[in-house]
Symmetry: C2
Subunit: 209 residues, 2 copies
């Protein structure tokens, strides 16, 4: 679990404000997650997510004090952009990024919960499909959904996925999943906080691509 | 035909050496070609091709005199890289780029030749499929081929494609195709010359992704 465990998300403060600097540092380790899926087919997804992170970072870097929390970024942009908002700037980048983060969260949670296809216990398609259905499907038109179905066939075996997640360490599936559970605590809290913030600020859109 | 006609490829010299600087200037206008296909699904293809161009340019920029022609780049890298070559550097980038260029060439040629699905004369799927089969299919594994088949459904109608190609100008299909034919003369000669150079230098690989 080198990949995830070495880069845990921090605990949220009581007001659930997400610190931009820490957030950017932690999510920077997630794009390589898609390399764990083991196929070049996932390169475009990795770039999409990396692009989101770059966009948010470039806004933050303009004025780190003003943009100390993610909410401050979204609120400032709401003021600055008028009717263009929220389909603009870091607000749009974070809107999509959180969906990718949710996808990863649900996938890992489902694996940690031991959900599996009893007929094919070494496949993770059911877990990926669950994550996709809940986090992304509704934001994808029929064509991207169709491409997802094809890409699903490139998903790795569970054993290979676990090996990749644990890069550099010899761990059992059980140990790996214990680490995943540990990682998910603050990670899930952070993703939830971002979703709540989008709802509260009316920053969420549901157009599909 | 603003897109293509304003950025014609130059005529080749008798020795068919492709001038790196002119080549890079001309191909820089091709990635937007994929925007003409009208769907965001083509963004990953556009980035792949842009990445190839960036890679070649970065080698060229290191020593424009030494790398004045594409062949000089490939030959220098052959010397420099030993057994890693040709799956490396600008040699690899141009190996893939030329396939994307060939794809565009065959697609435009097929349209200019009036090849069409008689039952669906306003679709360009037959033209795209022809280009794909000849330029790329053999370098793609079953999964990417499957994704291609799905992506094909996102291909624009012929009339929309022609409108997009002629951006900013009101032209008939006939005028547009006359422009395409004009564009194809030096373009095809350049692509052919690169293919011949790869064969001659034994720089071609046929692994699939
Ligand atoms: C030769 C044959 C070639 C055929 C080529 C076909 C290529 C098909 C490509 C499929 C799409 C790749 C994924 C990218 C999808 C993206 O379109 C969406 C929206 O992307 C957002 O769009 C916004 C504008 O609307 C801004 O530009 C955002 O950018 S901004 O930063 O500028 O604001 C951007 O992220 N992101 C998404 O849907 C997010 C995707 C997260 C993925 C999560 C994991 C899924 C894992 C699946 C595992 C099985
Ligand atoms: C939520 C759901 C998400 C699902 C996500 C699924 C995403 C599927 C993505 C499909 C692939 C997109 C196309 C890219 C394919 C690329 O893999 C290949 C090889 O790419 C090469 O690879 C080399 C290493 O082997 C180097 O890295 C080269 O890079 S280097 O510069 O570093 O040397 C690089 O170009 N290029 C290609 O096949 C070239 C493609 C040209 C395309 C031509 C037009 C086709 C038009 C089709 C019209 C219908």
């Amino acid at each position: 679990m080198a990949l995830l465990m070495d880069n845990q998300f921090g605990e949220l403060p009581v007001d659930k404000a997400v610190d931009t600097k820490f957030f950017l540092e932690s999510v920077a380790y997630l794009p390589p997650f898609f390399d764990c899926l083991g196929s070049k087919v996932f390169v475009p997804i990795k770039s999409d997510i990396s692009g989101n992170i770059t966009k948010i970072r470039s806004v933050y870097d303009k004025d780190p004090a003003k943009y100390a929390t993610l909410q401050q970024i979204v609120e400032s942009e709401k003021e600055a952009y008028g009717t263009e908002w929220p389909k603009v700037g870091a607000t749009l980048a974070l809107m999509w990024l959180k969906r990718g983060l949710r996808f990863i969260q649900i996938l890992l949670q489902s694996l940690a919960d031991g959900e599996k296809d009893e007929n094919n216990p070494n496949l993770i398609r059911v877990n990926i499909t669950k994550a996709y259905d809940q986090a992304l499907k509704k934001y994808h038109g029929w064509l991207v959904q169709k491409i997802f179905k094809a890409a699903l066939l490139a998903a790795p075996y569970k054993s290979d996925f676990i090996k990749a997640l644990s890069k550099g360490q010899e761990v059992t599936e059980e140990d790996c999943m214990a680490n995943v559970r540990q990682f998910l605590v603050n990670y899930t809290a952070t993703v939830d906080a971002i979703y709540e913030m989008y709802t509260m600020l009316n920053a969420e859109l549901d157009y599909s691509v």
